[in-house]
């Protein structure tokens, strides 16, 4: 009931904002190449659906591959950092430094190194997702209660069993929280990569449309990106709900 009320509230507020936007565009004498009305954006999104889908598939693939790669590397790295403090000491400054470098600055280099194809964008998306996952998972593993560790030692549990029964379930909520943050910003990495150099993707479509003053198509692309981002967030949320069913 609480969730329904909250959803209704945010949906109501969003509808209100869209309504204001529509009215401003209709009666404010704003040309569509500056700010198209939401109805116009929706019309273009439907009319140009095949084109948008064609590009969205590429962006979606970049994001998904980015998530897969970053998770595949982040999990073992966080575990290594947890088990071996020397690994943490070695990697922590690099991780922090990697966050200090703007992704925009790396994008041209990645296009040079990995080409105009999918991999430079996958790398960008992976890079942006990687940090919250590693940091959250490591924090989760470290936060494990000392008394539980003591109990497992007394039970004579080997490390792998302790990890399976204690550390991993303990850190799972932290990992999923990191993944949620990661997937919601993953679109940024992919789109920036496409802006710098691509032949396909929503970011590429945005740049092309913007150059031709097709701002309605730019907005339609943003709408698609939002759908991708929110969908991923919902999927991770569903995984979280299932994996953490014991919290109910």
């Amino acid at each position: 009931m609480k969730f329904m009320k909250r959803s209704a509230l945010s949906l109501g507020f969003l509808t209100f904002l869209i309504l204001i936007w529509e009215l401003v565009c209709r009666y404010g004498d704003i040309p569509p190449f500056i700010l198209p009305a939401p109805s116009r954006v929706l019309y273009v999104a439907i009319q140009q659906a095949p084109l948008l889908t064609y590009h969205a598939v590429m962006t979606g693939a970049e994001i998904l591959l980015g998530i897969i790669f970053s998770v595949a590397i982040a999990i073992p790295l966080a575990i290594m950092m947890f088990v071996f403090p020397s690994v943490e000491q070695a990697f922590s400054p690099i991780l922090v430094a990697s966050q200090a470098i703007p992704v925009f600055a790396l994008a041209p280099l990645l296009v040079v190194w990995f080409g105009y194809g999918i991999w430079s964008k996958v790398f960008m998306a992976a890079l942006i997702i990687f940090f919250p996952i590693v940091v959250n998972l490591l924090e989760g593993l470290k936060s494990c209660d000392e008394d539980y560790r003591k109990l497992f030692t007394l039970m004579g549990a080997p490390f792998l069993k302790t990890f399976q029964y204690l550390y991993w379930p303990w850190a799972l909520p932290y990992f999923l929280a990191g993944l949620k943050v990661g997937v919601s910003v993953a679109t940024i990495g992919a789109v920036i990569g496409e802006w710098v150099g691509a032949q396909r993707g929503l970011g590429y479509l945005m740049i092309q449309s913007n150059a031709r003053l097709r701002v309605d198509l730019v907005f339609a692309s943003i709408l698609w990106l939002t759908v991708i981002g929110v969908s991923l967030w919902i999927i991770v949320g569903a995984i979280e709900k299932k994996a953490l069913a014991w919290k109910k």
């Binding site: 030692t153 039970m155 004579g156 069993k161 029964y165 014991w246 919290k247």
Partner: protein
């Protein structure tokens, strides 16, 4: 026989436990009672091997051991049930790390759940049951260690009076039915009088024995009898004097 000879531990040159000696008969129930912060839990940490002792010898059944880590089961005030496992899975946890016929273990756990009044709750997650039920499950898990010595660190102190009373009776089964050698820490004098064969009143740090009280073997005891009321007063007086010193 479990013997602790001249056990000692210091932190930053400050002795916490000093030449502590204790002899416990196999199958006996000994209760340690003493002022807060006197070093009781540190003693348990030394016994379980969580921390190293500076000096002393631990002997169990004639064999000198570095610690009791592999000979003792341990239960704390916190139930330490894993919230993501069901009560049944929590109880089975100690056996998950040992190679043993799973059918036999499952049967044993089922019997214990029935005996401890958790029969229909084995598939529940810990947060869905009461504190008393969680503590009973923790007690079953302690039994599933299948170790002869049981160390209990204030296992009932977080429970309400009625639940505590019923669990005290269950603790007695550790000795009577499961033939465990039990060493327990408590702050509750009534609990000590109800459960113990021997009550050891401890001193302020550096911890040592102030008084050893041996009780009759008859259990359960009527704590309203004059004898136990007098003993309670005596222990209380000992503790008050110790606090003043």
């Amino acid at each position: 026989m479990l013997s602790l000879d001249h056990i000692g531990k210091s932190y930053n040159g400050q002795p916490i436990i000093n030449h502590f000696n204790l002899n416990m008969k196999r199958g006996s129930f000994t209760v340690l009672i003493g002022p807060s912060g006197c070093g009781k839990t540190t003693l348990f940490d030394l016994l379980t091997g969580t921390i190293d002792r500076d000096e002393g010898v631990i002997t169990w059944l004639g064999e000198s051991l570095p610690h009791l880590g592999k000979a003792a089961a341990y239960m704390q005030q916190k139930d330490l049930l894993l919230p993501w496992l069901t009560l049944n899975e929590n109880a089975l946890l100690p056996r998950a790390f040992a190679k043993q016929n799973s059918c036999d273990i499952q049967k044993k756990v089922k019997e214990l759940f029935k005996r401890f009044g958790l029969e229909n709750f084995d598939s529940y997650f810990p947060r869905a049951v009461s504190g008393g039920m969680r503590q009973r499950c923790a007690l079953i898990r302690t039994l599933m260690f299948e170790r002869e010595i049981v160390l209990l660190d204030e296992p009932l102190s977080a429970l309400d009076a009625i639940t505590r009373k019923s669990l005290q009776t269950l603790l007695l089964t550790l000795q009577n039915d499961f033939h465990k050698t039990v060493l327990m820490i408590t702050h509750d004098i009534d609990e000590a009088l109800f459960l113990a064969d021997t009550i050891i009143v401890l001193t302020q740090p550096p911890m040592n024995i102030r008084e050893t009280i041996t009780l009759s073997s008859k259990k359960p005891r009527d704590l309203n009898s004059g004898k136990y009321i007098a003993l309670k007063k005596k222990i209380l007086l000992e503790l008050e004097e110790e606090m003043k010193s």
